[in-house]
């Protein structure tokens, strides 16, 4: 799980390069932030999985997870602001 947290953090640092130092610092201090990074990573991976899926609900699920990525980003921005 720690790896998923770090992957989520890395993804966010790529997304918001201007906030890298802030993200790194808060990741080490706020126990909720690594959890949110892991949730973000899980949402990204699920969005990618369902985008490729041939299941009938694949497109709907992919859209749901993309929305969840955005919502989790907002949670993280709110947490570090």
């Amino acid at each position: 799980m720690e790896q998923a947290q770090k992957r989520g953090l890395a993804r966010l640092m790529l997304r918001w390069p201007e906030r890298r130092a802030e993200l790194r610092q808060r990741f080490a201090q706020d126990p909720r932030l690594p959890e949110l990074c892991e949730a973000y990573e899980a949402a990204c991976e699920a969005a990618a999985y369902w985008t490729k899926s041939s299941a009938a609900v694949g497109a709907e699920r992919a859209e749901e997870y993309r929305a969840l990525m955005t919502a989790t980003e907002q949670d993280i921005l709110h947490r570090i602001s």
């Binding site: 799980m1 909720r32 690594p34 699920a46 999985y49 997870y65 919502a71 989790t72 947490r79």
Partner: protein, 270 residues
């Protein structure tokens, strides 16, 4: 309904107070939760209060709250895990700000979807100049002494660290509740150790609070035992098991300490 919550945590807030707290928190715009996650919170709280916490699994939440069908597979469709994390974060943010004075705290510890309920520890006087409506009046200094003894195995560094954090949180809570608190020191601190031994020999109004964090494979057992030193009677004893998480778990340890402190206060006469 009381039967369910009593089975969940003896000495905790009563069912009707928990449901009132749920209603109040859900009415706040400051709680950053979607309608769906508000239903998620309601579902887990209501199931727990009704005594059905064993039904709170990812599958049941996926089907009952998130509208998934019977083919729902939480490993491919991690909606419940993700939303639970967002819910925990929203609750933390709420209790750090708007809900700082709420009497009851609802939490969902990491590694579980089953909520815990605890009375909030009153804020320090300099943080709370006016008591909130309905709040309990501050307790006068208590006459009882509590000797805290951390018995976590020193051979396991990680369990020892968790034990220290558990002990620190408990000492803080008991001190705030106006008890006289002593911690059994290491053998090197001979003078303090001798003073504690004297209390064991002539306990007066002294009580023991033995705590430990013990490892067993991927699980950690947080246990506490509160006893009367005058007669050896155990007044309260309980434990909580958690799957080890690689993420920082300060909130979880604080929540267990909060339950233990509440159990200690419930075990003593007012």
């Amino acid at each position: 309904m009381d039967k369910g919550i009593s089975a969940f945590r003896p000495g905790g807030p009563p069912a009707e107070d928990i449901l009132a707290a749920l209603k109040a928190i859900l009415s706040h715009d400051e709680l950053r939760l979607s309608e769906r996650n508000r239903r998620f919170l309601s579902f887990v709280v209501n199931q727990t209060v009704a005594g059905h916490s064993e039904r709170i699994k990812a599958y049941a939440i996926g089907v009952d709250v998130f509208g998934r069908d019977e083919a729902f597979d939480p490993t491919l469709d991690p909606i419940v895990r993700i939303e639970a994390t967002r819910l925990r974060s929203a609750l933390t943010a709420y209790y750090d700000a708007t809900g700082a004075r709420d009497r009851i705290r609802i939490a969902i510890p990491p590694g579980s979807y089953v909520p815990t309920f605890a009375w909030a520890i009153p804020l320090a006087e300099d943080e709370a100049d006016t008591p909130p409506a309905g709040a309990q009046p501050a307790r006068p200094t208590r006459s009882e002494t509590i000797i805290v003894h951390d018995q976590s195995p020193r051979s396991d560094a990680e369990a020892a660290l968790r034990g220290e954090l558990f002990s620190d949180a408990l000492v803080r809570l008991l001190s705030k509740a106006q008890f006289k608190v002593h911690v059994v020191p290491s053998v090197e601190r001979r003078a303090a150790l001798d003073a504690i031994r004297e209390l064991f020999t002539h306990p007066g109004e002294a009580y023991s609070l033995d705590l430990a964090v013990r490892p067993m494979l991927e699980r950690r057992r947080y246990s506490w035992r509160f006893g009367d030193l005058r007669n050896g009677k155990v007044l309260s004893s309980d434990f909580r098991d958690y799957v080890i998480a690689t993420a920082p778990c300060f909130d979880l340890i604080d929540a267990v300490a909060d339950e233990a402190a509440q159990a200690v206060m419930d075990a003593l006469p007012d």
